[in-house]
């Protein structure tokens, strides 16, 4: 049973959600695999570039600071950019 109310998530809860989402995807995938007479793959656009699992690169906190300093118009957490006004 899951609660759907918004809340801050602990590390343990995050791990549980990760396992749960994998379980859901696998169970849905298994049911879809049983479908016969599917339309051919040729009617579905398929891209070749898949994401490779790599170690997450650390977030560059200065990047955000720099880009906000550089912006002519900004709010606390985001910049406002219009065509030709940058």
């Amino acid at each position: 049973m899951a609660g759907f109310l918004y809340k801050d998530l602990s590390k343990k809860e995050r791990e549980e959600i990760s396992l749960e989402s994998k379980k859901i995807i696998n169970s849905f995938g298994k049911k879809l695999e049983l479908v016969k007479n599917l339309p051919s793959e040729s009617s579905i656009e398929k891209n070749s570039g898949y994401r490779l699992e790599e170690k997450e690169s650390p977030c560059d906190l200065n990047f955000k600071k720099r880009i906000l300093e550089n912006a002519p118009h900004k709010t606390k957490d985001s910049f406002i950019s219009e065509k030709k006004s940058w």
Partner: protein
């Protein structure tokens, strides 16, 4: 005749009085600004220069950009993100003198079917504040049901307009895919999302739909559609209706819908046929791999550098579930297998609906197969996802569909889903307006 200014004051009084109880509006334009706009509209009406939406006040789901308001998506991730432009639908509303009141609450990033996942506390159902209003366009349905405004905009990816419309007892339309521009909509799933209207009557919902539909150069998939003939709504015509062959567990909902179908068949002498969609049982299993993958892809921009905060650090459980599910599907080792499989089943379901619409003009079913639960009640993910079992197929097929209130079960509003083939909104609305007439005569 009531002026726009008088109407505005009535709405603002009601919002002041009841918004805390229902948690619907997140943000309003300033009173000063709204009064100025209402006076301008009244002046235009006096001079006979007013647009089609003059005198209408409108609430907007917070995943649609409105210049000067926060497009927060009901999330802490974007709570400080102030829109820098108007979405195409907003521009069209303003061009017709509609007045935007403010942003309403919703499920976080439109991820949910209950209105509970908002980071700014759940929306409450105006017909019973202990119950969920449905979602994800929870506030959009609730603001119309609570009498806070005339109309509202929501977005529908798998039922997010029709589901809360059903639970709150209002009219909600999901237009055909590509018939309304998505420019300015913060996407959940780009191959399924559509913006659509809520209203208390079919004719008001049809009017807003007619204003916002049409091709937009900023949304390359958008297409032109025929102008709706609003004068034909309510005129008796012959139709061939299909009744969806799908068993739901709540017999009270099914009985109410069956009774209504019997009533309209008798009153209008419409032909009725049973319609079977072979793979409708797999709609949920087809929908979620697509949504997980496209949502994961769409949220990669929310890395804390360009907009707001990093999504994974600040989102709630349902948003995280979808992101992690999407990350899993798109891992190189899986080659997006489940996504591509789901796309192929989507095609199959689309084809089955095309075949069905060769036999009938409209397909009817309950909008939601179950009654809303209590806010905060623990239910399984599967149970939550099952709320949309009957609405998802229309998104997968790209058809138009809508929910119309037809009665109550245990005091809770229940809607009938009226579905038509792609770009057959006129036919769908004509049937809806005739069914609506049978509600009025009670």
């Amino acid at each position: 005749m009531v002026t726009a200014l008088e109407k505005l004051r009535k709405y603002l009084d009601k919002i002041r009085d009841k918004n805390k109880e229902f948690n619907i509006f997140l943000e309003l334009f300033s009173e000063e600004e709204l009064i100025k706009k209402a006076k301008e509209v009244d002046e235009k009406i006096k001079n006979k220069r007013a647009g089609r939406l003059a005198g209408y006040f409108i609430g907007v789901k917070p995943n649609i950009n409105v210049l000067g308001l926060h497009a927060s998506c009901s999330s802490k991730v974007l709570e400080n993100y102030l829109s820098t432009y108007d979405a195409t639908v907003i521009k069209k509303i303003k061009d017709e003198d509609g007045i935007i009141l403010g942003m309403v609450n919703s499920d976080e990033f439109a991820c949910g079917s209950s209105g509970e996942t908002s980071a700014f506390s759940p929306v409450r159902n105006p017909t019973n504040p202990n119950l969920i209003p449905g979602g994800s366009s929870s506030g959009s349905a609730a603001c119309v049901a609570a009498g806070f405004c005339d109309l509202s905009l929501g977005s529908d990816t798998g039922g997010s307009i029709r589901n809360p419309a059903s639970h709150c007892g209002v009219v909600g339309i999901k237009p055909s895919y590509a018939s309304v521009s998505r420019y300015g909509l913060i996407d959940l799933s780009m191959s399924l999302d559509q913006i659509g209207p809520f209203a208390r009557t079919v004719s008001d919902a049809a009017l807003l739909l007619d204003v916002i539909r049409g091709k937009d150069e900023n949304d390359s998939i958008s297409l032109n559609s025929k102008k709706l003939n609003l004068n034909d709504l309510g005129k008796k015509k012959d139709f061939v209706l299909g009744i969806l062959d799908f068993k739901i567990n709540n017999s009270k909902i099914q009985n109410l819908i069956d009774k209504k179908i019997k009533e309209i068949k008798k009153k209008y002498n419409w032909k009725i046929k049973k319609i079977k969609i072979d793979h409708i049982d797999l709609a949920i299993e087809t929908y979620y791999p697509i949504v997980y993958t496209e949502f994961f892809s769409g949220t990669r921009k929310l890395d804390g550098r360009k907009y707001g905060k990093k999504i994974e650090d600040f989102c709630g459980p349902e948003v995280l579930r979808r992101i992690l599910g999407g990350a899993e599907i798109t891992k190189a080792e899986h080659e997006g297998r489940n996504y591509h499989l789901a796309l192929r089943v989507k095609k199959l379901i689309e084809k089955e609906y095309s075949e069905a619409f060769k036999e009938v003009e409209i397909i009817l079913s309950p909008t939601v197969p179950r009654l809303p639960h209590k806010i905060g009640e623990k239910i399984s993910v599967e149970e939550m996802y099952s709320y949309d079992a009957l609405t998802i197929p229309s998104n997968l097929a790209g058809n138009c569909s809508m929910s119309l209130p037809v009665g109550k079960v245990e005091g809770i509003p229940v809607g009938i889903q009226i579905m038509a083939d792609k770009f057959n909104e006129q036919k769908m609305l004509e049937v809806a307006s005739l069914i609506e007439k049978t509600n009025e005569t009670k």
